[in-house]
Amino acid sequence: MLQFGLRVVSSGSLAPHPFNRLRKSGQKKCDITVKDKRPVNLDIGTIALPITAIASILHRASGAFIFFAVAILFALLGQSLSGPEGFAAAQECLNSFIGKLLVWGTLAGIIYHSVAGVKHLVMDAGIGETMEGGIRGAQLVFVVSAVLIVIAGLWVW
């Protein structure tokens, strides 16, 4: 399958922002290249973060967090299945404040990531793809995951 990338080529002055560069120079040319560089027309640092973008970046951040924090759950599971003594040790660990905090923090990351993931599946099904739907979905993700994270906290303690 051929992959086309849309590249904006300008021969104007080198202003920092590609959009500005385009507007100022007035000289622009779009050409279609095969497997060339990805389009570079967004400067992440200058873009406002609406609620949908915050929900999105938190989905990523929570995923990266879980990637490492899940080691805590592996350790607890391995400990609890190693034998009666290990099971008691895992329970002991879950009774300590630090243990509860670590597990709750990990669960919080997993809860947010899961709820945001379900929103992705819903949107994949074509539901809530409009601008209003996206905002409503992001709000819903925040509310639902906040409630579930509080419940998880009450459960751990």
Partner: protein, 121 residues
């Protein structure tokens, strides 16, 4: 330019699908664990061990472990190819990205062996 050779299925469409299927498997596993721990009655070592030794849980835990590896790789690959690039980091971008991806591979392989030893030993 970020080459696609390090992606999970060498294809964006394949990665998109694997990400979703593995996500659903992990969600099912998480819900089963919530049911067991939240509504499964009093927990003893014997009941806990027997729960994981059942054939259904062996299938689910192994599927979840493999899903974690695939899901984790695709997610961390997406992050690394978006941020650790030559455009954002200069000439060091490629080196940093490949080092980060190597770290992720080591972490995921450790999880795989660790998880298999927990579940099957």
């Amino acid at each position: 330019m970020v080459k696609a050779v390090t992606s999970f299925g060498r294809s964006g469409l394949s990665d998109w699908l694997v990400q979703r299927v593995s996500g659903v498997i992990l969600l099912v596993f998480a819900l089963v664990m919530v049911c067991k721990l939240g509504f499964g009655g009093e927990l003893t070592y014997e009941s806990w061990k027997a729960f994981f030794d059942g054939i259904c849980m062996q299938v689910l835990t192994t599927a979840a472990l493999l899903s974690l590896v695939a899901h984790g790789w695709i997610g961390m690959w997406s992050i690394s190819t978006d941020y650790f690039t030559e455009r954002l980091m200069g000439t060091k971008g490629t080196v940093i990205r490949l080092a980060f991806q190597a770290l992720c591979a080591v972490v995921l392989f450790t999880y795989l062996i660790w998880g298999l030893r927990i579940l099957w030993s």
